[in-house]
Symmetry: C2
Subunit: 277 residues, 2 copies
Amino acid sequence: MNIVIVGLGVIGGSYAMALKNAGYKKIFGVDSNMETLKKAKELELIKEGYIYGSYIIKKADLIILSIYPKLVKTFIEENRNNFKKGAVITDATGIKELFIKDVLDILPKDVDFIFGHPMAGREKKGIDYASSEVFNGANYLITVIEKNKEENIALVEKIAYNIGFKRVKRITSKYHDEIISFTSQLPHAIAVALINSDKESRDTGSFIGDSYRDLTRIANINEDLWSELFLGNKLNLIKVIDEFSSELEKIKKCLIEDDSEMLKSLFIKSTKRRERL
Amino acid sequence: MNIVIVGLGVIGGSYAMALKNAGYKKIFGVDSNMETLKKAKELELIKEGYIYGSYIIKKADLIILSIYPKLVKTFIEENRNNFKKGAVITDATGIKELFIKDVLDILPKDVDFIFGHPMAGREKKGIDYASSEVFNGANYLITVIEKNKEENIALVEKIAYNIGFKRVKRITSKYHDEIISFTSQLPHAIAVALINSDKESRDTGSFIGDSYRDLTRIANINEDLWSELFLGNKLNLIKVIDEFSSELEKIKKCLIEDDSEMLKSLFIKSTKRRERL
């Protein structure tokens, strides 16, 4: 099976490493950056790398897209005449509703797109931060569409387990975007807002414990990728921001009213929920 | 030097372990729970344990209070006639303004209270979760008051470094409570609000990555301790909640207005700040 990874950034590079470690041999890379291709080849992550994908896309049995959300549609458009009959395409995009319909409108009939979301990432971008470990024990989501063939879903699922994911879930794209706005985009919005609300030029680093460090880790964020993810899922994200804000207001109200009992009950609720996680 | 630790919970127990590892020999414990004292003695963390402290307090050169904030004043009241002349008391309380004045009003003249705040903790309570590692590389704050003798500040400082703290800062209690509301209490409020804003009975655990896990870790919270810390520093905490909320509103505004450029500039700011940390 020829596997072509399109986009050898931190996620694509990690895919290449993890696939290699899992025993897959025929892995090829497409990337617009020559340096990246060179590194990937030196590290023996790919058999060959290509700036222009058309040649190798024609031979691909499985194509893994690890590119920015907006580029997914462009990629299909540009390659619609290159895909092999029966080829399987999958992606690594953190939002789904935005482009599934667009992609299906232009996807050749004999190509199957299994929309996937590996819930693992790094703050840093680029192949230098790729790691085969990043998928270990993580969650993997497949947003199944009617047209998907069971054997192709099973293939993507099997590969996910082979490269270290602990749990693969099949869900609808609507539910995916809804829950992801809460579990992934909202935490990033919070982390950014937290560190941005610090006073300028204060020596904050001398006054922090693990909590501040943990809560701001993801404030180190790829602005191009995450602005696409945020805006591409804005209605869901606005809703969960509002729900979160109203919970924070509850805490503030306890403070204003010196309501120790209500405050404790909020803490007991959060503790139970965290322990269940 | 006889060291008496009052309160052998997760912090007091960790103190005992870390002091022992650092070579201190004469460590005694006071705790209202007989089981806890038994465990501490079995683990050889203390030479002897006491339910009622008066006997051993009389012999103490250094007293480390690791009890709930409200109990600090009570402890001083109850023991004001027990303290040895020249004894040094220090505490581990996360807020300071609330009780410094009260304590100073009743503290005997020949006893020096060095108000300390080890910025390290665990979500869990009790000696079973104590660990000598918890202080390694952490920050330690001393809120100096006029009455403190330099030699006693230096003693507490030296012990902090001996048991693993990386950095000891001397600051005013006003500044302490102000910055701690931001770096410690606000993150806890956010974590609690985040997990409490989840929809009931949703299988959230299947849809999370590291970010949600990191941001909710401290939602597992000791409700008695943290309600005291929140309410005892409420004015500062309300202020930083408001400042945080207004940053979150900025992000929401970008979403409503599809303002990709502004969103990116917020991300670039947060990334720079996080990298500087």
